[in-house]
Amino acid sequence: MNTPHDSVVWLGAPAFPEAARSALADTRLRKNLRKATGTIREKRLAATGELDDWEELRAAGAAVKRRTLRHLDRYLEQLEESVARAGGTVHWAADAAEANRIVTELVTATGEREVVKVKSMATQEIGLNEALAAAGISAYETDLAELIVQLAGDHPSHILVPAIHRGRAEIREIFRRGMGDRGRPAPDGLSDEPAALAEAARLHLRDKFLRAKVAVSGANFACADTGTIGVVESEGNGRMCLTLPDTLITVMGIEKVLPSFADLEVFLQLLPRSSTGERMNPYTSMWTGTVAGDGPRAFHLVLLDNGRTATLRDPVGRQALACIRCSACLNVCPVYERTGGHAYGSVYPGPIGAVLTPQLMGVGQASSLPFASTLCGACYDACPVKIDIPEVLVHLRAAEVDAKRGGVPTPEALAMKAAAGVLGSPRRLAAAQRAAAATGRLSARRGSIRRLPGPLSRWSDTRDTPAPPRESFRAWWRRTRTGPTAEDER
């Protein structure tokens, strides 16, 4: 029970600095990302700019989430009662393993060996597909991008458009090679036009939708007062999964609960405009328990902790649990735009991933991620629920540094200590500047230092340092101005 969060990060994934280095070398990936994030940024700005009360909506969204998180126990119990009253069954899972076991048992009890899936971050986080496969159950992703990722045996690289790292020609090859093994093969002579590829996916999945008896979904929100669950989507695969099968199993992080159905008036405005930059996404499905003669006859809601209560414990870090998974912060982030999602090594990439992943995983895990940011603040401006991501990043960086105190000091800690001594005394600073001017110019090429020796190379490996000037400003001042001002240096 206490070995949580197996799959938030991908096993064997390198730390961010190494992963980013290889991602940055991939010029085609960078071109795809630049185009994609640029397009979606413009759409989001147009869609949010239409509402002159956007800031008031953000404030309301942030406040509703704050109220919910501060009274989460009460709302979870109320949600459980409401869902049960409407004919659903609520299950609780303290960690990924427990959630996977619950879902596997529910599927097994139906006698089925196949499930269709709606795109869901929570089930990716717990590695549900792998757990089902180990029990001999095939899980079919039905969102187009998730299908691409699944057929390629790949990882998603964006919360909203998981196959953003793949070009159309690659996708055609993935379909041609992969579809036949899992059902209806790709049509002969498939072109790489997006419309043709979408049509191939439609045909491939149609048969699965019509036969499916069990579906697994995530949830965008759950209303405590009514027990209503909502899923927003674009393609209609969600509607297929939520409507046609006999059994529906929804896995939802405990932070997704909202106090009331009426609160949807805020989130149904914030989410589509922030996420896809649309006034409204094509389809939003809401259901409350089960209804005779319409949709699944059995509905199970699995409430997932998996590190969320540990995140909740930190009064600064807990705001990350307000995230509605719109991905606006990814699209505005200068670091994400250059490295892409895989470099984060997590189901949750980008700025929100950099604060969510280490918190869900616990101290010491994914510890490089809070440093994968320039702290420019674009993510905070874009966030529809006003999560102060830079504040949480700095907070987690401090926690990371604190965690390393007490043992053998790192070279960085020694360097910082030395710097504190030098910067604390004008005389020592002047001496250091003279020394730097003398030695620095020796190792500089065309005005910058590319490599520093010894442990200092850890600094110079990731940045060029301008060569120190022949003379510092302070020395120049003293030489050219005679009189009382020079007396400052004591």
Partner: protein
Amino acid sequence: MSGARDTVLRRVRAALADVPAGERPDDVPVPRAYRRSHAGGDVVGLFADRLSDYGAGVTRTGDPATAITAALTRRGVDGLVVPDGLPSGWLRPGPWSVLRDDPPLPVAALDDASGVLTTATAGIAVTGTLVLDAGPGQGRRALTLLPDYHLCVVPSARIVGDVPEALARLAPDAPLTFVSGPSATSDIELDRVEGVHGPRVLEVIIVEDDKEPPA
């Protein structure tokens, strides 16, 4: 499993140790300074414009029966799914066969049908959204999902300005489907492709009449 339930709730309460014991949810203020509606005066005109933006066909008429016949003829519909409770005068006989959902049509029959005709419980002008609640003239959710063509007829009196107004009218115990344009994906290089799994063609007829239609 009650063990996990207790574990999770205990962890939540322990994590919230900084929240004063006497604090109630209402003590956490939620400023609701946002607008109830972003629509101006012409709600019906805005609804029509926003639907057109999504690529949905839009007709405004005072004579729904004629507009429905024209749309079905233009589309060349042969098997038409018709839910119970559609206003009796709306559908005239034509070259199409009418598929009633009583007894419930199997999914294969719905998949083979070339279209579905329904009404909607509400329209939202600002977002160009149709809301279906499985009520009279709408049927269960599968009816508007599997046929490739959805013709939706909305009396203008059911069109509201914006999302908050629509939600205030809805009863959440019914299954709700919000439809804003045809199904679409931008998953491949962010190129928008219309028509994936849901109906690929959506047409809307707005009935310009301030009275509710007879059931």
